[in-house]
């Protein structure tokens, strides 16, 4: 069993979707549980991919390829996951880059990593209007709202979103984390965010701690 999961882990990292699909089928045929395949074959691979990206052993294209491969694997695994387990999801996160900011590379990296370790991500994209964040929190009830900004002139929208959440009685219903190049931990605290991630790895750590 370990051998096939190790191979699966390796192929996810390489980004060979066809091979991964074959291996998942083979593992299922051998009686390996869908959850074990998900946790030990796919998600563990993405955790390693994340670590390699942090040290630039690999670059973003390789990470994106691994993420695409994992998604392809999860798709064929989904019918085999126990109903009620929500596919082993750790929680739901609403994610977006704040209003006026069209730089979304950081947000996309965080998205890949959060999805990779098992969070359900609702990606609102970039330059998300302040009120849209609030409306989507109300509509979807995520466990967490994660906002990103690359520019100093746009990060100012983060406290506005938090204020609107308070005004509409939603602040206590969702955890809020912030990140991005100009965002510093002290500022995150000052604006009333629950957490701050300096990079994707920190964002994952915080998300895991806050959504239990």
């Amino acid at each position: 069993m370990n051998e096939i999961l190790t191979e699966l882990n390796k192929e996810v990292q390489i980004g060979d979707a066809d091979k991964v699909k074959q291996l998942i089928q083979k593992a299922l045929d051998q009686g390996v549980s869908a959850m074990d395949i998900l946790e030990k074959g796919l998600r563990s691979a993405m955790e390693e991919v994340g670590k390699k990206f942090e040290t630039l052993e690999i670059f973003l294209p390789e990470m994106m390829s691994a993420a695409d491969t994992m998604k392809a694997g999860v798709e064929i695994l989904q019918p085999h996951l126990e109903s009620g387990s929500e596919g082993g999801k750790l929680g739901s996160i609403l994610l977006g880059t704040v209003e006026g900011d069209i730089h979304d590379i950081g947000k996309n990296i965080v998205k890949i990593m959060l999805e990779g370790v098992g969070f359900e991500i609702m990606d609102l994209g970039f330059s998300v209007p302040t009120l849209s964040f609030v409306e989507r929190v109300k509509e979807t009830g995520p466990n967490m709202l994660a906002m990103s900004a690359l520019m100093t002139s746009t990060m100012v929208h983060m406290p506005r979103v938090i204020q609107f959440l308070k005004d509409r009685g939603l602040r206590d219903k969702v955890k809020v984390i912030v990140g991005g190049a100009p965002v510093l931990p002290d500022w995150a605290k000052e604006i009333g965010a629950d957490g701050y991630g300096d990079n994707a790895a920190e964002a994952i750590k915080i998300a895991k701690e806050m959504i239990k």
């Binding site: 670059f59 996309n108 100093t152 929208h157």
Partner: protein, 461 residues
């Protein structure tokens, strides 16, 4: 010859593509081009003296741009250009940029590899947040530097205690204030008509920029404005609107390109090819007579690590040898002001850039995120090293030898670089003079650099 109108038309009528597909296509195409032209990062040669490599890098960048084009975020269209159109645009691009007017004119020629002429230096507190009270003293410290050919300012995040958010009326007010205060700083520096190469650092939106772009406020004819591409090879209508406005104005357009090493393109060689391609974007879509490159490491947000210096060097050489463009290297430091580390980072980046054909645009410091952490001492150091490097006549091999010694002094600390000291710790904000601690530190640095072959007496004559 492609006109700006053709660019707009292609942004409306080009092939549709999903932005996520575009991002993936960048990685795939860049990898193919890098393999085809056999481009390999060499850690042993951060300043390579390899003309063939530089020429292959140029060809790779042009092929990459011809295959990819530009993605317009607002329309979801790809603006495609033929190789013929690209080469024609580069051939017809300006070979000089001119800032200012009358006795305050700054003429900037194309620079060549190992050019013995002094680089032009744009002094800039790139994107550092400061307070309203310190904005003028900080700007004055930059404008008064003798080696500053032009200057630009930091930014404020609060105006009259309200956050300056993009798209708000506060942004328009703060943008106007920005221009007024920059010109005021030039006046207190004793250079009232000194060219400002980027007169807007606070406002992002085009309407706020246009509102502030008036000579009576301080944005004089011959000042400039940067228009930045979005990584990688993307533009949006906000940017193209700025270009449309600037083409009808007396202001100099500066193309600004910051591909992320480790990002959508991939590693150092891939990102270098992307940076070359971005210059074609700047010529065609931004109509820029001068170009600014700020490639940065995706995690460390600097361009002073070994692979980043290699990238800066090869790209500079590729453009200097194969085009007549006016190109500037933006310096991004990991460490902060008044640290020993920043002396070596600034020196390594300046020397690498100067011998590789770039003019200089120093600098962002402390990973460009620490409020109030900037001073004019950093661009002074960068400018002095660049001027001396040109006057000594360092070639690339000699520069490579020195850069390797400098890297040994700081490269292991990059991820945990010290943030250094704030402006008021580096300068007396009343007299706007650097404090002794920083001056002594730089004197010590110059002694070390002298041992490596620098002759600082060449800039004291």
């Amino acid at each position: 010859m492609i006109q700006f109108w053709d660019v707009i038309e292609r942004a409306e009528k080009g092939k549709s593509l999903d932005v996520n597909e575009w991002d993936r296509l960048v990685g795939k195409t860049t990898a193919e081009v890098v393999a085809k032209f056999d481009l390999k990062y060499d850690p042993d040669n951060p300043v390579p003296a390899d003309d063939a490599l530089a020429d292959r890098m140029y060809e790779a960048g042009i092929e990459l741009f011809a295959r990819m084009g530009i993605f317009c975020i607002d329309t979801g269209k790809v603006l495609q250009f033929t190789r013929q159109e690209i080469l024609e645009a580069l051939e017809n691009a300006p070979d000089r940029a001119v800032y200012g007017s009358g006795n305050h004119t700054v003429k900037i020629p194309h620079r060549t590899v190992e050019d013995p002429r002094d680089p032009i230096v744009n002094f800039s507190a790139v994107g550092t947040p400061v307070t309203e009270e310190l904005f003028v003293p900080v700007c004055q410290s930059y404008a008064q530097e003798p080696m500053a050919d032009t200057f630009s300012g930091p930014l404020i995040t609060k105006f009259r205690d309200i956050g300056v958010s993009s798209g708000s009326p506060v942004e328009v007010e703060a943008g106007i204030w920005n221009v007024v205060k920059l010109r005021e700083a030039a006046r207190w520096a004793g250079r009232p008509e000194m060219p400002i190469h980027n007169f807007m650092s606070i406002a992002e939106r085009t309407d706020a920029t246009i509102a502030a772009a008036r000579p009576e406020l301080g944005a004089l004819p011959g000042d400039g404005l940067f228009v930045a591409a979005v990584a990688e090879l993307k533009v949006d209508y906000e940017r193209l609107k700025k270009v449309a406005f600037l083409l009808h104005s007396p202001y100099v357009i500066g193309g600004l390109y910051g591909p992320l090493m480790g990002g959508f393109g991939g590693g150092p060689a891939a990102t270098a090819a992307l940076l070359v391609a971005h210059h074609a974007l700047g010529v065609l879509a931004f109509r820029a007579p001068r170009h600014n490159a700020f490639p940065v490491h995706i995690h460390n947000v600097c361009n002073t690590s070994r692979e980043m210096l290699w990238l800066v060097s090869v790209t500079g050489q590729a453009l200097a040898r194969n085009t007549h463009l006016v190109t500037f290297a933006n310096a991004f430091m990991a460490s902060g002001p008044c640290t020993e580390m920043i002396l070596w980072e600034l020196s390594a980046h300046s020397l690498t850039s100067t011998v590789s054909g770039w003019h200089l645009n120093p600098c962002a410091v402390a990973k460009n995120r620490q409020p109030l952490h900037c001073s004019a001492m950093e661009p002074r150091i960068h400018a002095e090293v660049g001027h001396v490097a040109a006057r000594v006549g360092f070639d690339r091999k000699e520069a490579c030898r020195i850069v390797k010694v400098l890297l040994e002094k700081y490269e292991k600390q990059i991820s945990q670089a010290p943030i250094g000291k704030s402006f008021t710790e580096c300068y007396d904000p009343v007299t706007v003079r650097p404090r002794d601690e920083y001056l002594k530190l730089w004197d010590k640095g110059k002694k070390e650099l002298t041992k490596l072959g620098f002759d600082f007496e060449l800039i004291q004559q």
